[in-house]
Amino acid sequence: MINLDIDVAVIGAGPAGLAAAISARENGSKDVLVIDRNSWLGGILPQCIHDGFGVEELGTSLTGPEYSEMYIENAQKLGIDFLAKTMVLELKKNLEIIAINNKGLYKINAKSIVLAMGCREKTRWNVMIPGDRPSGIYTAGVAQGFINLYNIMVGKNVVILGSGDVGLIVARRLKFEGANVLGVVEILPYAGGLPRNVVQCLDDYDIPLYLNHTVTYIKGRERLESVTISQVDENKNPVSGTDKEIKCDTLLLSLGLIPENELSKQIDIELDGLTGGPVVNQSFETTVSGIFACGNCLQVYDTVDILSIGAKHAGKYAAKYASGKNMISNCFVNVIAGKEVRYVIPQMISKPGKILFNLRVENPKNSAVLYIFSGDYEVFKKKLPWAYPSNMIEIEVNITEDIIKSDNDLEVTIDDR
């Protein structure tokens, strides 16, 4: 057993882990260690070869590999240690990590821990598509990795289910590599991805977008032979008589992402059913003292920019915790996602001050008003020119000690204007 004593341990070397580690180091932690199961650093970024990363954070548009190399270089300059090809097996409440790699078993004693495990893609079995089980069905991210990292083409005639940004970007990539993209199928009445990607990945190449449609049957003995798509009604149920069979050899699934929290579950970190990630306070601290969460294992972010900014906060608070500047407070207020709000982070607030809230709306709106109430008292009100589920809303609100001490939950709601 190899024993290591460190200040801050970060699990995951993707953009969130890198940003958190850099921030912990910059905020005074001497020994910062990042652990990742992959052989490379940067997580998913090296396969995201398109540009648009860093626009909000740095004011310049980088590709995924450029963005990740910038962070890795920064981390290495700061003397942050990395354990790649290393799997975390066990997380303990006393801030001990058991990990393994080809050198042996590690016992890592940390003064604080940052969770940055990222997320996973939903699969066919998350949406239960009926039919055969042939080869030729991939999640969009897996296909993107094959094409952009390993030079493996996934197919010739491709249908994509789900119009999130990953699906749209992969549609264009396939077109560039000579594939025939037969269409993108979306169950909702609107595209999941950014308008920029709908225009520049689909419209530019005349790739059809089937809104209010879904895949209702998969056919194929060895390799995929066809998929059947059907129109859906307002309850997302297929409408009979609208079936259309599309001959294809490949189906890509871009169905959304699920925060990865197998380790969090080991020690009963409370998870939020709405975000799929840990419940955190204003310092990104989970319900287990000294363990912080950031990145896509906390909530699925829209852009890496906003993710990195959040992760830097988590890293800063982890460094403070490691230095013994404890923020323990028994008094806290719960933050509730009210009417028309899908989720809100943080889920609890234990310290007064300017608090950064992240939230998503339930339905698209072309004008709306956002409220935060403590009982009958209106804490915050903001008019929004538009509000879309695919755009996370960030607001900063001053939360006073009185609000935290009151018996009322803080409720965030959205109203029509």
Partner: protein
């Protein structure tokens, strides 16, 4: 000759459908834009549409088989597939440093193709 087009604005998620009229170099928004940024976007999109291009180039003796690349500036839309053809035919020897020029004056556009990743030689 007058040409009419509908352009989907990408500046914000409202995604205005902007109708424009083109007559040679004369450009006019006939309907649809909610803000001035939208008008500017529609003008560029109607008169001279360009796109940043990213793709990958085959690598000899690298620790990865592919090098991710980008265009040094946005490429006129009608040249995209000419550029992609040259990128597909290219091959580069490792090591490669991020920022290195991989193809100069690609498809006679005066635009270069640049490495967006560092690759070690094995």
């Amino acid at each position: 000759m007058t040409d009419e087009k509908e352009i989907t604005c990408i500046i914000c998620p409202i995604s205005c459908k902007i109708s424009v009229k083109l007559d040679g170099k004369n450009f006019e928004v006939t309907s649809g834009s909610k803000c001035i940024k939208g008008v500017e976007y529609a003008r560029a999109e109607a008169l001279d549409p360009k796109r940043m291009l990213t793709s990958s180039v085959l690598v000899n003796k690298g620790d990865w088989p592919l090098l991710s690349v980008k265009s040094s500036e946005p490429i006129p839309k009608n040249k995209l597939f000419h550029v992609l053809k040259e990128i597909k035919d290219a091959k580069i020897d490792a090591p490669v440093k991020l920022g290195q020029t991989v193809i100069k004056n690609v498809a006679n556009t005066k635009i270069n193709i640049i490495a967006t990743k560092s690759i070690k030689r094995i």
